[in-house]
Symmetry: D2
Subunit: 150 residues, 4 copies
């Protein structure tokens, strides 16, 4: 991609601030690892209360960090005073997510004025090995933030 | 659909038992509302710790109950001694999920020997009104349960 | 859906005119069967030159009529002097599309100002039986038509 | 990916033979450019009869070559005497496909015994420039070929 231009010099703070308001991240214990223009990664350690019936990370839990990693990758490129909304995503679950943590790496593949598109790879960590366990593609909308803060 | 035949007379207990092992459901407070052959619905009340940055249900949280509603709709039709795994899903977020609860209704549209396909509608509740807020389609695999319990 | 309001009294002609410009429809022999506000159906008879390696309708050919059925269902509700573009679609191939024709029925499930969402069911016809063979969900963008005709 | 092992020494001929039976490829004029273990690319030159209403390649036409590029990437890794079937795909249309040709590059990201997963990038060519115009992710099933030829 040649078009990953930041429109917001303050994008790091804007993303961190938004992430801190995602209360679900606190509940599950996810952490924002990194954000650069058009990229974002989020990590989540295994806990016994994040699982499906076989003890693996639940597909919806994987989706939480993948959706936000892609969303913030896109948001990092958006104009100031805008908001990001997920229009849709699709996720392929390639392998059971069995490991001591998962991390999602989101990347913008097309940044348009109103719509952006991302790819998100999710890896599961075991000892020193990272294995691709899920693959998401996503569409996001950029909307003007007309909600005034006090 | 004319093909929604139960292969497991004990499907209700099998689904309830599996759902009770999904620890993420306890964490977020989701409840299995109903399961009949080829159908399953799950409800989730709003809490302040289930949100994205604007206070709406996070798309990943919506995906947790939608994925399981579709998964158990499919599982209700599967042969005894099998397990269900999500192969993939796609979700369209039609409107912000702003309301006092959301519920997901999963329905099998094709039950094959190895692969099943579902549709899941997610509604958000406000006062007495239910509004469609998300639409998922999903592919699930039926695998033989070769893990022996003690 | 309670929101299927036509904004364009001339929607039937607008859709028919656009369909007639889809040159691929002529190549494969597809026909616009019906369009009403928020709905559109397209039919395609089997030909030996529309197949994949086993003699079934190719998934991409199914996608041609499904994408356009959903697109015109959405377009029928859009404001005058607008154009419709597909943002994305996902299709599940439920069964081999083996029959003497296929038809796609598109339906709008959410009509927004800029984005619309549809579901498209594709059936394969054999003798007097119609069987669901594919299921698509789709996102479409409404963009202003700024291209002036001569 | 570390797992792209060919199971079929004759995979090139097997893929070419299958491609030659895809009659739709002859109709639209698509060409198999290359196949290596886990990869496949297909090219299609612009013709006036492959378009949607604005003169761009129709999304369904793009899907034909993308679906087959991903399918044959997966098929190249499958065991002898097997067949490949598309379970589902999702495609994001990133830009109008306006150019003198499009080509699809499919790549396997997970090759399982029964299910494989691919990514397919579609580029549109203009003069000497290639621009990413569509992104597909895909699930494929490997089934035993029990149909005997005469």
């Amino acid at each position: 991609m040649t078009e990953l231009r930041t429109q917001n010099d303050d994008y790091v703070n804007v993303v961190k601030d938004s992430f801190s308001k995602q209360t679900i991240m606190h509940l599950i214990g996810a952490e924002l690892v990194d954000v650069t223009p058009g990229f974002c990664s989020i990590e989540l350690c295994h806990r016994e209360d994040l699982c499906q019936q076989d003890g693996f990370f639940h597909a919806g839990v994987i989706s939480i960090i993948a959706d936000s990693a892609g969303g913030y990758a896109a948001f990092s490129l958006m104009r100031p005073n805008s908001r990001v909304l997920t229009v849709e995503f699709k996720i392929n679950l390639l392998r059971p997510a069995a490991g001591h943590s998962i991390f999602a790496k989101g990347e913008v593949i097309r940044a348009g004025k109103n719509l952006s598109f991302t790819e998100v790879k999710v890896y599961v960590r075991n000892s020193n090995k990272n294995t691709l366990c899920a693959n998401m593609t996503q569409t996001l909308a950029c909307v003007d933030d007309t909600i005034k803060s006090a």
